[in-house]
């Protein structure tokens, strides 16, 4: 079953010197439960593709659907609803709210779907324990190491039991040892929880974790393995 399908997906940015096609005519089917890695040189359109698939930016043309629901032209609030219910995000810069503690950061996605406070606490605790941060619940992000912060971000991505996790260079700010630890974790989530993972990376080591490996260049898919 395909979780994401795209058809001739194109994103064009306007610039004073003309227009730039960040991605061009991307047609892609992603099966549920896949671990997709997207690689390519800088400026090849990896992040644009990821953000478009995640419903964070709108394509200029073409279409994309999630579980057969066309999301190309839905209202902004529908896209937000899609993200809050089905998607988890892991970013290179961790994207944590700095004044919220670990547990509060992880509780946020649950708060958006109106989960009771008690349940928020229980589920956030449980997922933080899973990522090995059970004793850091009330620490602020600045009190944690980079690897720990990324694990909080993973916990936040997992807590609302998403169908799909989008990861943009999740190991970009981490040393090789920590990178492997995070990648192993993503793999585990992918396999144990059957959560589809789409990950953008520069690293060949990270790219090897993918069951589907997409290589982009100049906004176009060069290869899919």
């Amino acid at each position: 079953m395909n979780i994401i399908c795209t058809h001739n997906l194109t994103k064009t940015y306007s610039h004073k010197d003309g227009t730039i096609d960040a991605i061009k005519d991307i047609t892609l089917d992603v099966e549920k439960g896949c671990f997709v890695t997207i690689t390519g040189p800088s400026g090849s359109g990896k992040t644009t593709l990821l953000l478009t698939l995640a419903g964070l930016i709108r394509p200029t043309s073409g279409s994309f659907s999630f579980l057969e629901q066309d999301l190309t032209k839905v209202h902004d609030s529908e896209l937000a609803k899609f993200r809050r219910r089905n998607v988890g995000f892991i970013m290179q810069s961790f994207a944590l709210i700095p004044y919220l503690t670990c547990i509060q950061n992880v509780m946020l996605p649950l708060a958006l779907i109106k989960t009771s406070n008690q349940k928020q606490i229980e589920e956030a605790k449980s997922v933080l324990e899973t990522v090995g941060l059970g004793k850091r619940l009330n620490h602020l992000p600045r009190e944690l190491s980079a690897g720990q912060q990324q694990r909080v971000a993973i916990a936040r991505a997992m807590v609302n039991s998403p169908s799909i996790i989008f990861a943009d260079e999740p190991t970009g700010n981490l040393d090789p040892l920590l990178s492997v630890e995070i990648l192993d974790f993503l793999k585990e989530i992918n396999q144990k929880n059957n959560i589809t993972v789409i990950m953008v990376t520069h690293s060949p080591v990270a790219a090897d974790y993918g069951t589907v490996k997409i290589h982009l260049d100049n906004g176009e898919i060069k290869s899919i393995n």
């Binding site: 953000l51 902004d76 809050r84 709210i97 004044y99």
Partner: protein
């Protein structure tokens, strides 16, 4: 976790920013509440005074300022006691009652009060010289309270209570309601004023006027303990209204050319003018605070929104609606307004409480309804100033802000 808690945590996290952004609004609301509180009590005091004041003519030293009705006789220069006799032995008709006074501020313990020496009626009446005059006899004839012309001084004759103390011994004192409360004294207690012990003869009922803050002693005793012999600071005269309109004031001015002779109506009209000015000032402040407060809060919100672009981006990324971002920022504005309104009310009320007795010689207490107005105005200002920043914040693209790291 919910949106309100998220806003609260963020505000709490940036307390110093919160305080600085609130300064303009708190001070502004405080000034308005302070002025209006004093204003309201001042108006009440004027109304009460008009009803209760016995005397309708004041003879004051020439240099006395009558800008403030309440302080006209306090710390005023003095005039000779002989002026009382001059009035009584003159051919001026219509003096129904007359009360010489000497008023000064005194400190008892650490508290400041107003000491007023008064001459009781029995002493005035006992002066052989005065018994030969028509003092007090004309009321029944010339001053019968009936005609509309009596309203010309701002009140009706039948409302006048011929205030005066029948007797007050040399060693006795009368305490205004606030004084008795502040010094925790009751009748028959002893009270040391400057160097002399007095016995509290009576606690006066609360009148809502400056008299509540006064200690009354016998005029001779006041002159002795203050070291101001044969001098007084004011003469209160209960003049017959018909006589006043028949030229009594000009006759008094001719008799005592080095004094300032004024009617209560004149003094009260000065106070009413002052009250009107205070009211206008508070409206001007309201307009200023509407501008300054909105700009201040708007500026804070704008800076806050820009500073938190990344956080807003994160919230949008994980699925927060634009409307919820808008709600978050307006909720923040609401909380700022609420805190600003409460603090402004407290600041204004506390200021009025301490400033009222100093500047207007009136006791002021909190006016609860003002807290509602303070909060409503403050929230209104805060939300008004936040609308544009909130609108732009809600339009932030989710991901572009996160990449700004």
């Amino acid at each position: 976790m919910n949106l309100f808690k998220l806003v609260w945590i963020e505000l709490w996290n940036k307390k110093s920013q919160l305080i600085s952004s609130l300064m303009a609004i708190v001070i502004g609301i405080g000034v308005i509440v302070g002025i209006r509180t004093i204003n309201v009590y001042s108006e009440k005091a004027v109304a009460v005074k008009l009803d209760n004041l016995g005397a309708n003519i004041l003879v004051l030293p020439q240099a006395t300022s009558i800008d403030d009705y309440y302080t006209a006789d306090i710390d005023a220069p003095t005039i000779p006691m002989d002026y009382v006799e001059k009035i009584l032995t003159s051919d001026i008709k219509g003096v129904d009652n007359l009360s010489p006074k000497l008023t000064r501020r005194v400190t008892i313990g650490n508290k400041k009060f107003v000491l007023t020496g008064i001459q009781p009626k029995n002493e005035i009446a006992s002066k052989p010289l005065w018994q030969t005059t028509n003092f007090g006899k004309e009321l029944q004839t010339a001053c019968a309270p009936s005609t509309g012309e009596n309203k010309s001084h701002g009140y009706e004759d039948e409302k006048l209570k011929r205030k005066g103390v029948d007797s007050l011994k040399y060693e006795e004192c009368l305490l205004g309601a606030q004084v008795a409360k502040a010094l925790k004294l009751k009748e028959k207690d002893k009270l040391k004023i400057l160097s002399k012990d007095f016995i509290v003869a009576k606690l006066l009922d609360e009148t809502g006027t400056v008299d509540d803050d006064r200690i009354f002693v016998n005029l001779k005793a006041a002159q002795d303990i203050l070291g101001i012999q044969d001098q007084i600071s004011a003469i209160e005269i209960m003049g017959c209204c018909n006589a006043i309109s028949d030229g009594m004031l000009s006759k008094l001015r001719n008799l005592l050319p080095d004094t300032r002779i004024t009617t209560v109506g004149q003094i009260v009209s000065t106070q009413i003018e002052t009250n009107k000015m205070m009211k206008k000032t508070s409206i001007i402040f309201l307009i200023i605070i509407l501008f300054v407060g909105s700009i201040s809060i708007g500026n804070y919100m704008w800076a806050n929104v820009n500073e938190r672009r990344k956080e807003i981006g994160i919230l949008r990324m994980i699925g927060t609606y634009k409307s919820e971002i808008y709600k978050i920022l307006l909720m923040k504005a609401f909380i700022l307004g609420l805190i600003g309104g409460i603090l402004g009310y407290l600041l204004g009320t506390i200021s009025a409480y301490y400033m009222g007795p100093i500047f207007a010689q009136i006791q002021v207490s909190a006016i609860p309804i003002f807290i509602v107005w303070s909060i409503l105005i403050s929230i209104g200002i805060s939300i008004l100033g936040s609308l544009i920043p909130a609108y732009f914040a809600a339009k932030f693209e989710p991901f572009s802000n996160i990449q700004e790291d």
